[in-house]
Amino acid sequence: MMSSTIFLHPASYFILGALLLPIFTRFKMQKVILLAVPLLAFWQIHNLPESFGICNFMGFELVFGRVDKLTYVFLHVFTLMALIGAIYCLHVKETGHHIAAFLYVAGSLGTTLAGDYLTIFIFWELMAFASTFLIWYRKRKRSIEAGYRYLLVHTAGGLILLAGIFLRYQNCHDLSFTQIAVNGATTADYLIMIGFMLNAAVPPIHAWLPDAYPEATVTGAVFMCAFTTKTAVYVLARAFPGFEMLAIMGAIMTLYGVGYAVIENDARRILAYHIVSQVGYMVCGIGIGTAMAVNGACAHAYAHILYKALLFMGVGAVLEMTGKSKLNELGGLYKRMPWALTFTVIGGIAISGFPLTSGFISKSMIIAAAGADHRIFIMIMLSLAAVGTFLSVGIKLPYFIWFGKDSGVKAKEAPWNMNLAMIFASFMCIFLGIYPEYLYRMLPFPVHYHPYTAYHLSETLQILGFTGLGFYLMVKYLHPEPKSNLDVDWFYRKGALVFMWVACKPISIANDWVGEVYQTVGLRFTKAVAKALSWFDWEGIDWAVDGSAKGVVQGGDKMRTLQTGKIQQYVGGAVAALMIVLLVVIFL
């Protein structure tokens, strides 16, 4: 592939930017590159040919660029979000944090553009590795632990995906990434689907998300809430539209996430659970599979990225300025951080689907598609989740941070760049609500849906108004408590402890016992055998293959010095190896 083709790919801007960042930081020009790279990429996605970067690697055809309307809408919002995220984290000094964020975005863009499963897998893993560092950079014990869990869960998901890819290759020798027919799906396809569903946080394989996101850095969480789950939505929309299982799981997701959002105490954990709920709408839309439903899923992904990032930015600003994110420790901040309040409320009303905001024109599209497809039960579930959305994120979250009981927490407004990013995102939330055609034009299928009908307005106003009444009546009962709630991560967090106990206690005792028996009985016998063998080795074997044994010993010594035992270095090495493979592949 020619070098000119490399610079067609928007992910290469982010990879190159990540490589150049340390040099620019040395010359105090970090901010230039942080803004220039997303801007360039946002411009570049409008100049992409339908297909590019096709190359042959060990007999496999790798397709780095495949562009159609479904790709375009996701590329558009991903690069836009990268720009907003970059503005939000301009004040962060750590170069490594920016590098991780850039590589993470590159992974997401690479997956979105990939036309075959191998390319998807490469960028998929890049995304998982890079985002782990956005958790670790918080540098607290809890974050380090959560980062390891996040990495392990995603590695497991990646392996399931890889197993599906291998099996698929064995079945049909075709790794091109296209739509899979509902009737023709095999075990391989379902394994791939499970790999994708893990990243989309479909219960019961969702617990990594509310476990990891609240532990990420303030700025890292803003990136993470946008890319991982929505990239998964894209790959599901590409490969699995119309799978009934997704429609049902998606509807369950919407209520599951919102249920936890009602009872959680940490503001960022509320938002994290709420991602599960919102992605549920998209997964459900993909499962319904009609043109209107898939359009709705894409529109909702676009709108959701912007308002969820806005919410994470607002709450992140509070965390940055006060060091607190738990509702029971906050309250009464409206005099000290009124702008953060304003932006968070805009995000809150957008996510709740207020008229004239982006949620109104995207969420309703999926609900209407469920209705048009005569899936009344799913429609009712989605509507109930909308009630819970306004209750937990639209009212509860801002109320207990900025109003409620005054906590006396000292705070001042966030730095200018954070506010600028929030203004940008707020503008997009309202702009899309007022001018939905901007978004509708980008959707994969022609849109025949009109959100602003009298009945839809009436329905929405009733849902929002009476949710407000429900909160008013139950506000005492909803008071935040310093508790965290069990979820299915209990199984592997407690399971790991059981495993460690088994490894430490019974196995170790058995090991000691066997060791003693061996010492007294086995050792003498072994020594005798070893003596005999050694004689044979020196006299017989080494005579035959002289020299090779010494070579192996020396090589082993060298290997030993390379192994430092630090997992960070291994992970870094793995990412570096991945990048080298990638570069080799692109250049060949």
Binding site: G259, V262, W339, L391, A454, S458, Q462, G465
Partner: protein, 88 residues
């Protein structure tokens, strides 16, 4: 911005009445709305979504908070303390 919010805070009672009249307004509005394509029977009942929402909202709060209290809620260091137990 802070002054506006303080002003509203000071006139909470007026705000409450404005809120209740808005609720009434949404119900009255529902009488006037023409239903072109009702998806199911609920769409043709006036005030259906208001009733659905208030019942769903209260039900959800009671169910989730109840489940949290009797089962799910744990100390925030629930997983941490187990670790330290293990270290001892």
């Amino acid at each position: 911005m802070a002054q506006i919010l303080s002003y509203l805070q000071a006139h909470a009672k007026v705000l409450k009445w404005v809120f209740f009249s808005c609720l009434l307004g949404t119900l009255l509005f529902d009488f006037l709305v023409v239903r072109h394509h009702p998806h199911f029977w609920g769409d043709s009942v006036i005030g259906f979504w208001a009733l659905f929402t208030i019942l769903g909202c209260l039900g959800m709060i009671v169910f989730c908070k109840g489940l949290s209290h009797v089962w799910l809620a744990q100390r925030e260091d629930f997983y941490d303390s187990e670790d330290s137990d293990n270290d001892e």
